[in-house]
């Protein structure tokens, strides 16, 4: 119990002192996860909107696959990305293995299906509501998709939040493709795993506290933004 309290005391000390090592790890974690969210948004949102608005043969099968991919096991993604980026793999020439780029790729693969599937659900409901009006106005399909994404923007923020939550808390894939190399690919989750195994509970706990605070802050920011929009009847 005393060790536990001591670990907490040391952890708050590290956070309060803005320990350089801690700041570096937090910075890299945010950079990797936010970039992955950006990639997932660019790929997943248009894909979800397309699936919601365009009818084509096999669409139902694609929807099922995208939904199923939401539950991709991170270690499997890590392994596949590792194989693709290793020297013997098809993308080995990129020399991305054990770099933040590899971690971004792995996290993007993990969260793009989440963004696509949730976007499809939101846009499909809105498209159902708008469909007759858009048909009456003869709105072209690309304008329709842009309008739907624009009008669903506050609901889609929650989708990005879900993606960010998955990315920032993910450990299995990034440890395989990043290697948890100090000052290069060490992020909060991999550092927590490492420091815990070394018995340095203070640093692990400090990182855990920061991870929780980031999750809380991002959630609070998105929720307040959405609540504000709903009050203004935009959502």
């Amino acid at each position: 119990m005393q060790d536990f309290a001591e670990a907490f005391r040391l952890a708050f000390g590290l956070v309060a002192a803005m320990d350089a090592n801690l700041v570096e790890i937090i910075g890299l974690s945010l950079r990797v996860s936010l970039t992955a969210v950006l990639v997932a948004a660019v790929l997943g949102m248009p894909l979800g909107a397309l699936l919601a608005t365009v009818r084509f043969p096999g669409r139902r099968a694609v929807v099922i696959v995208v939904n199923a991919l939401m539950g991709l096991p991170p270690v499997v993604v890590g392994l596949l990305v590792y194989m693709a980026l290793s020297n013997a793999g098809p993308l080995g020439f990129l020399q991305f293995l054990y770099t933040p780029a590899a971690m971004i790729i792995a996290q993007s693969i993990l969260i793009t299906p989440i963004v696509a599937a949730l976007t499809r659900q939101i846009i499909e409901e809105m498209n159902f509501e708008y469909a007759e009006q858009f048909a009456s106005l003869s709105v072209p399909w690309h304008t329709r998709i842009i309008a739907l994404i624009s009008d669903a923007r506050y609901a889609l923020l929650t989708v990005l939040l879900a993606g960010f939550g998955r990315a920032i808390a993910e450990v299995g894939a990034v440890i395989i493709v990043g290697g948890n190399i100090a000052h290069l690919t060490r992020v909060m989750t991999t550092a927590i795993a490492l420091e815990t195994s070394k018995g340095d509970l203070a640093l692990a706990l400090a990182l855990g506290i920061v991870l929780l605070v980031i999750a809380l802050l991002v959630n609070a920011a998105v929720m307040s933004l959405r609540a504000g929009a709903e009050r203004r009847a935009h959502a």
């Binding site: 509501e129 708008y130 007759e132 009006q133 048909a135 009456s136 106005l137 003869s138 709105v139 304008t143 309008a147 009008d151 669903a152 203004r232 009847a233 935009h234 959502a235």
Partner: protein, 244 residues
């Protein structure tokens, strides 16, 4: 009743509908319907609940496909190409999750017009200029319907369909909408108005199409229809009796 307007909608009329059938769920909702509209002005579509009025305007606007029969707008058939010069106001307006001005601006931009003056003119006509920056969905029911009409008129249509646009609205909003309809008709826009409100039909109609059980029972000039309806169903309907 209004004077016959300038023939702006000449490119769309005449409308010839022949043998139109629409079935759903094992029921025939539109049954061998024939209709010819040659005159400009305001055509009011009346009939008891479930007669097929709303379905008919959706078919004429090309929003749904009939199982058989033909709809022909001045030799051009019916589809997206004819819909481009038409607009529709639905009974329950579907407003975009944007501001009042942005809803109208969406249609103006769609038609390749980015004209602030035109936008303000349309909002002023709908008595909504003061609420231009407010969220459209925060408006009252009457204001929402006025906005839906302003948005429909923003597309500068030759034909405007209105599906019970004033149902459940307060008299003031009803008057604003009726004035806008009359003004649009005065500019030569062909109006096809579905209404249950016999008073509204008397105020606005040039001609009346009376529908019962998915077929046109009577199509006559408004004066003749209201003074001496030819069919028993129309007489009963205007007398306030249940028409089954």
């Amino acid at each position: 009743m209004l004077d016959q307007p300038v023939a702006r909608s000449a490119t769309q009329l005449p409308l010839a509908v022949a043998g139109l059938c629409f079935r759903a769920g094992g029921s025939t909702l539109i049954n061998e319907l024939d209709l010819i509209l040659t005159d400009h002005g305001i055509t009011v579509v009346m009939g008891p609940n479930g007669a097929g009025k709303s379905l008919l305007v959706r078919l004429l606007h090309g929003l749904i496909e009939p199982q058989s029969g033909s709809i022909d707008w001045n030799g051009k058939g019916c589809g997206q190409h004819t819909r481009l010069r038409q607009a529709m106001v639905f009974q329950k307006p579907v407003l975009l999750r944007r501001s009042v001005a942005a809803n109208v601006d969406f249609v103006l931009r769609l038609k390749g017009i980015a004209d602030r003056e035109r936008l303000e003119q349309l909002l002023a006509q709908a008595n909504l200029l003061a609420k231009a920056d407010q969220p459209a969905r925060a408006l009252s029911g009457g204001e929402q319907q006025r906005l839906a009409l302003a948005r429909a008129l923003a597309s500068d249509p030759d034909v405007l369909f209105l599906d019970e646009p004033t149902a459940s609205l307060d008299p003031s909003s009803t008057q604003t909408i009726e004035t806008a309809i009359a003004e649009a008709s005065g500019r030569g826009v062909k109006i096809v108005l579905v209404t249950h409100d016999a008073g509204q039909a008397r105020r606005l109609a040039n001609d009346v199409v009376f529908i019962h059980r998915g077929a046109v029972i009577e199509h006559a000039g408004a004066d003749g229809f209201f003074k001496q309806p030819a069919s028993m169903a129309a007489r009963d309907y205007l007398a306030g009796k249940l028409v089954i």
